[in-house]
């Protein structure tokens, strides 16, 4: 120990009278200060060494919680990866009305499919139910969003019969007919007969376009015409079947379209 004597013992401190003086504060203050310094030191030491690092990181929580959260498995793959194999559908969708839809909106969560394409197959929805989730009329939906009444819009028919889900557009009647017969075209657009060409039932001479009133298109002239699809013997699977020759109360007295409106035939 150095033998530096500082005789500024202004407090007349008896204990340190002939030793060197540490400072000018009274003894009891120094002791308290030391105790405090030691306590503070201990607190800091505990904070730095005794508390596990995961508790110190970013405040009060444990980083292990973040790791647990990160370990959570994903279910959705995102649609970019789909284009690796299904580029045709992907490109088609990209330019259509459904361009904002991720593939998994309709096909369901499919991360498993991207990892094991053969093991796990995503849904291939072909029921009306799925489309109706978004496209059923609801007054709360934004104006302009395409909505239908599923009970009136071609009932029971799967939507994909007429609409390609990857590029959904309303089926179009020929422009040349719609120009004058827009009313019929609109009615037809929600009916099961929508996929039929106008000329399937109406034999239309070219002059009809020039002289629409004097040269008229034809209409089915007998029951057998409708019977091509609707007779019990027909191979057309999706058409309702009846016995064409004996159907109705008056037998063969009337043609089909005299009772049934062919542009929107009722379903039952």
């Amino acid at each position: 120990m150095g033998k530096i004597k500082l005789n500024i013992n202004i407090f007349q401190n008896k204990g340190f009278k002939d030793g060197y003086v540490m400072n000018k504060f009274p003894d009891q203050i120094i002791r308290i200060a030391i105790v405090f310094a030691v306590l503070i030191g201990i607190v800091i030491a505990i904070k730095l060494f005794a508390i596990p690092p995961e508790l110190q990181e970013q405040g009060i929580f444990r980083t292990s919680a973040i790791e647990r959260e990160l370990d959570h498995p994903s279910q959705f793959a995102g649609s970019e990866i789909c284009s690796d194999c299904h580029d045709e559908e992907y490109d088609l969708k990209l330019n259509g009305y459904h361009s904002t839809l991720s593939c998994e909106v309709c096909h369901g969560a499919a991360l498993a499919h991207t990892e094991e394409p053969d093991e796990f197959t995503p849904d291939i929805p072909n029921k009306r139910r799925l489309c109706a989730i978004c496209h059923t009329y609801n007054l709360s939906r934004p104006t302009g969003f395409p909505q239908i009444n599923p009970y009136a819009h071609n009932p029971l028919e799967p939507c994909i019969t007429c609409h390609n889900p990857h590029d959904p557009v309303p089926p179009e009647s020929p422009r040349e007919c719609v120009a004058c017969h827009a009313n019929i075209a609109r009615t037809l657009s929600v009916s099961p007969h929508v996929k039929l060409e106008c000329t399937t039932c109406h034999a239309t001479p070219d002059e009809h376009k020039v002289h629409p009133r004097s040269v008229r298109p034809g209409k089915p002239e007998n029951r057998a015409f409708c019977g091509k699809c609707h007779d019990r013997g027909s191979d057309r699977k999706d058409a309702p079947k009846i016995d064409v020759s004996s159907h109705g109360q008056n037998g063969e007295k009337y043609l089909c379209w005299q009772c049934h409106y062919p542009h929107l035939p009722e379903i039952d």
Binding site: I34, V38, F61, A65, E104, F145
Partner: protein, 249 residues
């Protein structure tokens, strides 16, 4: 040892420890600030365009699939509310199965003045009331500003469920912890987007980083009129709504 010597030793060691600690703390802070400047810290948030929401409920189902939320229709991390504002200014709010259920209108259509859907989820507040009330510190905010729950710490006391002004939390029936939206933390940290954003057919939900000028969310905030839910509570929510009606609470 003399008392004086002991005290001297004590005071010296205290000084040594204190300087050591100070040095360590400074060093720690320095490395931290360096790492902050190198990797830019992201601040994730969500935008919701009410005018685009068609109320299909796909987001609700996608969230349940992605995050193992119980399938029963009482537990939601995100849900869709349907607002019906009548001509006599009555407001009816429906959320049938969180918006994924079949919607029905029992009132006459002519009584309704306007109607729209409002998707809701945790607002990931800058000042989360749920984190403040948690007695065990289980709810915390990550450096990205996402409010998470530590499953191992949560004791299931439900204080946070009471405290959340947005009703964004629920008691998990099996885990018995307060569960909530994580903004699909596991997805976004690996560069993805939340499942609800991924699945929204009209892209009503916009996910992005508030610190990046190129993020779609910043673009949304620049182009649209933005509002948040219950701004008067000073929670500073980070779910930004466009076209938000004044009746939405």
């Amino acid at each position: 040892m003399k008392r004086i010597n002991f005290i001297k030793l004590l005071s010296k060691s205290a000084i040594v420890i204190a300087t050591g600690n100070l040095f360590g703390t400074v060093l720690h802070a320095a490395t931290k600030s360096v790492s902050v400047t190198i990797s830019h810290v992201k601040r994730y948030a969500l935008g919701i365009q009410i005018e685009k929401c068609i109320g299909c409920g796909n987001c609700v189902l996608a969230c349940k699939t992605e995050n193992d939320v119980p399938k029963e229709p009482f537990y939601f991390r995100t849900w869709v509310e349907r607002y019906l504002i009548k001509k006599n200014d009555d407001v009816v709010v429906q959320s049938i199965e969180g918006g994924a259920g079949k919607l029905s209108t029992e009132m006459e259509e002519k009584d309704i003045l306007r109607s729209f859907f409002v998707p809701k989820l945790c607002n990931h507040c800058e000042k989360p009331p749920c984190a403040q009330v948690c007695p065990v510190g289980a709810t915390f905010k990550t450096e990205e500003g996402i409010v998470l729950v530590d499953e191992k710490r949560c004791i299931g006391c439900s204080y946070c469920i009471q405290a959340c002004p947005y009703g964004a939390r629920y008691m998990h029936p099996e885990k018995h912890i307060a569960d909530k939206c994580t903004l699909c933390f596991h997805r976004i940290k690996s560069g993805g987007i939340p499942a609800c954003v991924e699945i929204c057919p009209t892209q009503a939900r916009v996910f992005g980083d508030l610190e990046s000028k190129a993020s779609p969310l910043i673009r949304l905030k620049r182009m649209k009129k933005i509002h948040v839910l219950k701004p008067e509570l000073n929670t500073e929510p980070k779910v930004f709504y466009t076209d938000l009606d004044g009746e939405v609470k």
